[in-house]
């Protein structure tokens, strides 16, 4: 088991290094020159050259890559060009908001999705099932940014129950969290339904029922526990979806998180901040996948033994 954990952790390192590489390479390819943007169009060639040298942009790509990795190891993410603050500080201000939003959405999605999916499986082809399945299809098809806007129109404009945007209180969290959670609820519900249906067909469930165990016990202890393995994998993978969706949701609701920060950085060509932000997202995603892998090893003893 320990070897399993160690091996997965070790494999994560080259992936992270590769992520840094891809991020830097793409930002390099971004059209528009960061230095000219900073100094303005009327800057003298001299000033441009000097700033470029100061920022280290005149060095070849590989040198910059190694320099950056070296920096990262020391925890230095550089300074934001736009704000002239350390990137780590900018990210530090923003990530709690994103974490709050993503966790809220994930919990909501898991709770609603698993409940709806399990109920659908227990009463297949009922009215509830039909409505739930149709609802899931709609939920998967709705663009997140549109869902957010529609919710704003209904709950802020027409009903005036909830604020339009910004952060600060629980009422501010409701709409963004629901918006972000919706596609995941749909996916999780669909998967839970099929996973639980598969499990309910298994022999050991029939045995449990034949033994005379209460239906709820059969469901909770036997069925759901085994169905949980693919469900947890999906929930973990949904975190990646949620991070992508967070970028859109934060933009729509003016939520002060990493996603909104990233979009602003893109438009300002603040490549240092952008590198840091994308890195944090990717890192979070890798860590979550790792946790999912590890939980897989815990839940399914067969996997843990192989190592």
């Amino acid at each position: 088991m320990l070897t399993f954990i160690l091996r997965r952790l070790l494999l994560a390192v080259p992936v992270l290094l590769g992520v840094v590489f891809v991020v830097m390479l793409t930002i390099d390819l971004l059209p528009g020159d960061a230095v000219t943007l900073m100094l303005g169009e009327h800057a003298t060639k001299d000033a441009v050259a000097r700033l470029r040298e100061h920022l280290g942009l005149d060095k070849p790509f590989f040198v910059r890559y190694l320099d950056y990795v070296g920096q990262l190891v020391h925890g230095d993410l550089g300074r934001s060009i736009q704000q002239n603050r350390p990137v780590a500080a900018e990210l530090g201000d923003a990530w709690p908001a994103t974490l709050q939003l993503t966790v809220a959405a994930l919990l909501l999605a898991a709770a609603l999705g698993i409940a709806a999916g399990a109920a659908s499986a227990v009463w297949p082809n009922s009215l509830f099932d039909a409505v739930a399945r149709l609802g899931s299809l709609f939920g998967l098809s709705m663009p997140i940014f549109w869902t957010g806007l529609v919710l704003i129109v209904v709950f802020s404009l027409w009903l005036n129950w909830l604020p339009v945007g910004g952060a600060g209180s629980l009422t501010h969290l409701v709409l963004p969290a629901v918006t972000l959670a919706l596609p995941s609820v749909a996916m999780i519900a669909r998967l839970t339904r099929s996973a639980v249906l598969d499990v309910l067909r298994e022999d050991y469930v029939r045995t449990a029922r034949a033994k005379g165990l209460r239906e709820l016990w059969v469901l909770g202890r036997h069925a759901l526990r085994n169905a949980l393995i693919p469900i947890i994998t999906l929930v973990g993978l949904q975190s990646g979806q949620l991070m992508g969706g967070a970028v859109l949701t934060e933009t729509v609701f003016s939520w002060p998180g990493l996603g909104r920060l990233m979009v602003k950085a893109i438009f300002a060509r603040d490549y240092v901040l952008l590198q840091g932000a994308v890195l944090v997202f990717a890192l979070a995603f890798v860590i979550i996948n790792l946790l999912v892998d590890l939980s897989y090893g815990l839940l399914d003893p067969r996997v843990g033994r192989q190592g």
Binding site: V22, L29, P31, S141, W146, Q241, M243, L248, F281
Partner: protein, 276 residues
């Protein structure tokens, strides 16, 4: 019962197919079906409510929303279908190379794919689109490239599995060259699941393009893209909500259509894949 009749019995799938047909027709016949020129501005009538002269209302520049939605279907369909084609062709090629050669090449490709898939979906697409530059065609290519890693992994998996089957083993024992093996034995087995995947991919491609255009990084004005329309409609959301919400409805219907057809195809082509 063959696949087509199974598909036909699925009412939801048929609804999806009808919606896709509507989408395709409006894209093809846009110049004849749209009541107004999508770029025609009429500032006096800006933000006109739906009904009356402009059936779906007018946007912040007085342009007819219905016409822009109709023209927007061109972008949606272009991106959806073309990017799926790029992803499938690219992924098919790379997946077969990886699955068939094995060894260090396979490992290298798998590591690269793992790295690419370590990015949340939007970020990866953003990165590619940022590198290529904005615009409809670049966005299409970007979404297509974004889809290649996932398809590669699927194809590779199938190739690896099929490589070990008896009939491939027999063919090899008979001395069949690798290319013929790929073409005659492996490919026909991959095609059904690829078709399903491609259809569902089109749904996601439309969503992705809408998201990129919404952020201002995809299709650029004055091209009518639904995502872009939602984005600019956001400015007048509180006074004229229809400007932003109507194009979004179009996005949802188009995506729903492809999801329904994809689900239907999956149920029809392999009932074993269903959850019920």
């Amino acid at each position: 019962m063959d696949a087509w009749s199974r598909f036909r019995r699925n009412r939801l799938a048929l609804v999806g197919l009808v919606l896709v047909a509507v989408l395709a027709l409006s894209a093809l016949l846009a110049p004849w079906v749209a009541p107004y020129d999508p770029a025609r501005q009429s500032l006096i009538e800006k933000r006109a409510r739906p009904g009356g002269k402009y059936i779906l209302g007018a946007d912040e520049f007085g342009r007819d929303i219905l016409s822009r939605v109709i023209y927007g279907s061109r972008v949606a369909l272009l991106v959806g279908v073309l990017s799926a084609a790029i992803a499938v062709v690219g992924g098919l090629g790379l997946g077969m190379i990886a699955g068939f050669s094995g060894g260090w090449l396979d490992s290298l490709m798998m590591r690269a794919i793992e790295i690419l898939l370590a990015f949340p979906y939007l970020l990866l697409a953003l990165a590619i689109v940022a590198a290529l530059g904005p615009g409809s065609l670049n966005t299409t290519i970007a979404v297509g490239i974004w889809g290649v890693p996932a398809v590669t992994r699927i194809v590779r998996g199938s190739v690896l599995a099929l490589r070990e089957t008896e009939y491939v083993g027999a063919a090899r024992a008979l001395g069949a060259p690798a290319l013929a093996l790929l073409r005659r034995h492996i490919l026909p087995n991959i095609v059904p699941s690829l078709i399903v995947y491609a259809t569902l991919f089109m749904a996601n491609a439309i969503l992705l393009e809408a998201a990129l255009s919404f952020l201002g990084l995809g299709v650029q004005p004055p091209t009518a893209s639904w995502g872009l329309m939602v984005s600019t409609g956001r400015d007048v959301l509180l006074v004229a909500p229809h400007v932003a919400t109507v194009p979004g409805l179009a996005i949802m219907l188009a995506v729903l259509a492809f999801n329904l057809v994809g689900d239907g195809l999956r149920d029809a082509l392999d009932p074993r894949l269903r959850g019920s």
